[in-house]
Point group: C2
Chain length 65, copies 2
């Protein structure tokens, strides 16, 4: 299943590098988050959400089953 950060980023027509730069983080960091390969800090999650006009729940809360 595709990562929600990736979907939201593409909806905004941003590359990983552009999103990273807006947030002040490395392109690799965004890449790893989109591959669910690590556990970002809360501040980073908030920064991503704000930049993509989403909330924490939108991007990082698991769907109800």
């Amino acid at each position: 299943m595709v990562n929600k950060v990736k979907i939201a980023r593409i909806e905004k027509d941003l590359t990983q590098a552009q999103l990273a730069q807006k947030i002040g983080v490395t392109r690799q960091t965004i890449g790893l988050i989109e591959k669910n390969e690590y556990n970002p800090s809360l501040q980073l999650c908030v920064a991503i959400a704000k930049t993509l006009d989403k909330t924490l729940n939108d991007l990082f809360w698991e769907d109800e089953k």
Copy 2:
């Protein structure tokens, strides 16, 4: 202003130590988060939220102004 994790924890009648134990983390870690003295990882935020029957937004998303 009082931290939302603290409020939710007290509503559930848990001590810092009890909450910490349920989550599998140290009492000090909970204490520091409640004092906004650090930047927890996403996984920890999710664990706290689930344990307190809240969502990420409930506990970690800033109030609309």
